[in-house]
């Protein structure tokens, strides 16, 4: 339905291949994947373990280069860029959220969020601070700015990581199994944040292997053995906020022994 708009894609990949040389053997992790993502889309990427999701997301995030094929991000071909140029793109246009949060230990929430802006010399320290505060408020952690990661729950840590991915105002947020380490309730809370960001216009590509998570997105791309198997537009996007309300109360969750 997004194609109906006359917008240009924010991200476009064509015939993307990625091979890994393992001694004698060549692993074909991606075997020719093509699709476009348009501004404002919330795309989930699904597929069995080993289907190539992470490999693809790493290329989309400019952390890796395709063996062949084309990748245009924000109207700029990036498949042949050198290391430093890719780092500039990551710094300015990409926000990454990882499964294991990857916060710097013994570093406060706000300092963790400021981190990406340290590598952008155009941003003053005042602006850096202001943006980090705003991002933390957006993920509901206004009161936890000076907490260290080990003083925060898993869900809170992931929210700090989301704030970190937001702070450079990227053209797309990429998340690799961002709810993979979290229980159902916390996962839904995180999805609620992603849905809110999407409502504010953020483009999101979210890797998951859980169908109930995919149900919160407007489009689901399914990979199998390095090929695009299905590209599905979801007309009945579930509200994470609603789903959260429908969950049994947290006390019962605990009595069940939790979901972790």
């Amino acid at each position: 339905m997004m194609e109906l708009n006359n917008k240009k894609p924010i991200l476009s990949i064509q015939h993307l291949h990625r091979n890994f040389q393992m001694g004698e053997e060549t692993v074909h992790a991606l075997r020719g994947v093509s699709y476009d993502i348009y501004p404002g889309e919330f795309v989930t990427i699904m597929g069995a373990s080993g289907s190539g999701k992470t490999t693809m997301l790493n290329i989309l995030g400019c952390m890796d280069r395709p063996s062949s094929g084309h990748y245009i991000l924000d109207n700029e071909p990036v498949e042949n860029l050198k290391r430093d140029a890719l780092a500039r793109i990551r710094s300015k246009k990409i926000g990454f959220v990882f499964q294991s949060y990857n916060l710097l230990s013994r570093t406060t929430a706000i300092e963790n969020v400021e981190l990406p802006l340290l590598y952008n010399s155009e941003i003053s320290s005042e602006e850096r601070k202001a943006r980090a505060v705003a991002a933390l408020e957006l993920v509901g952690l206004a009161g936890r700015m000076d907490h260290m990661p080990n003083q925060l729950s898993g869900g809170q840590q992931q929210r700090v990581a989301i704030a970190r991915a937001l702070v450079n105002d990227p053209v797309i947020i990429l998340a690799d199994e961002a709810t993979g380490n979290l229980d159902t309730r916390t996962s839904y809370e995180i999805m609620m944040i992603f849905q809110n960001l999407n409502k504010q216009g953020k483009t999101i590509a979210f890797v998951t292997h859980e169908p109930d998570i995919a149900a919160f997105s407007s489009r689901t791309i399914t990979l199998r053995d390095g090929l695009l198997k299905k590209d599905y537009y979801n007309n009945h996007v579930l509200s994470a906020e609603q789903a959260l309300k429908n969950l049994p109360p947290p006390e019962l969750d605990l009595a069940d022994g939790g979901d972790e």
């Binding site: 290391r83 500039r88 710094s91 970190r164 450079n168």
Partner: protein, 404 residues
Amino acid sequence: MSPITLIKIALRALLRNRMRTFLSVLGIVIGVAAVITMVAMGEGSKKSIRDQMTSMGTNAITIMPNSSRRGPVQLDASGSTETLEEADIFALRKKAVFIKEVSPVVTANGQAVVGNNNWPVSLTGISAEYLKIRNYEMEDGIMFDDQIDRMAKVCVIGQTVVNNLFPEGDPIGKTIRYKNIPLKVIGTLKPKGSSGFGQDQDDVIFTPYQTVMKRFNANTEIRTIYANSIGEGYAEQATNEVLEILKERRNWTKPTEPFRVRTQEEMIQMVTSTSELLSIVLTAIAGISLFVGGIGIMNIMYVSVTERTKEIGLRMAIGARGKDILLQFLFESVIISLLGGLVGILLGILSAQGVKLFLNWPMSVSFTSVIVSFLVCFATGVFFGWYPAKKASRLDPIEALRFE
């Protein structure tokens, strides 16, 4: 990334592992402290030798017969072919333009006796100019004039002699018996301390040279002539001139030199060059310990890079370039070695003071050694931090993030 941010990151990383940081800079600390202390030792002894020799008169020149014998002959002229005589003194005073003052030195040996006190000290026969040549100053009384009272039985004495022969003080006007000849004390000298050769320059009895020649030695031979050049830098001209005048008087035609002329400048160079060599050896040893310290830094930086592989991966994932990571670790290694250097400098200054205080060794902490140590530490940080930092900057972000 701004330098301030880089310094903050580095300090935080170093403070996180205080003990490890401390242990890894220990090599640098000890190396620098050793450099500072050893250079202070070398400089100190050089300075004190120079000071002492200056107190003997920097422009002093000694003239002695050139012995035909080989070996150590400074004080033994019995085998010499030529001797110095009073006429040489007059000739030098009259003709030499590069020479300011001239004095013969003739000595007699024995005991000085005052009442029940006796004191073994040699009797030194000189002319009044000797005081100026050797930087002696009068404390009390007057100096004799060797031309007016040529054979007078008078003397001027140094502080050590005063202390030993006149413990109750006030020696002026009293009489010292030297080999049963009474010498009246007409003056005392200000204390001068010991010379660079460990001689007590205050343990002296001066009397007119004619007195020693005629009354004690019964010959007119002069063992040594002391003179001083007109100023610093004239030592060589003065030497040549002295030899010229002495040879001219004797119509000397042989190719060998009849006399040996030695300047104080030569002596200073001779003594300080040995301590310079000592300085070089000490500094080399200290340099090696700094090098070993640098290897300690390199080791700890490799550990730090490996430990923080995941952090490096994350920083790269969110936009850090290889250069940013390189600088981060380079700053860390430079700061750690500068910290070590700073502590080492403080420790070095402290231990220099300690050596001065407890071992009584003359110490002079040289500003240059402090600056050089600091620069060397900076270079050590860059040099030994470079490879670990380069390794960190070349990591692949995906691989690094996967590191556990």
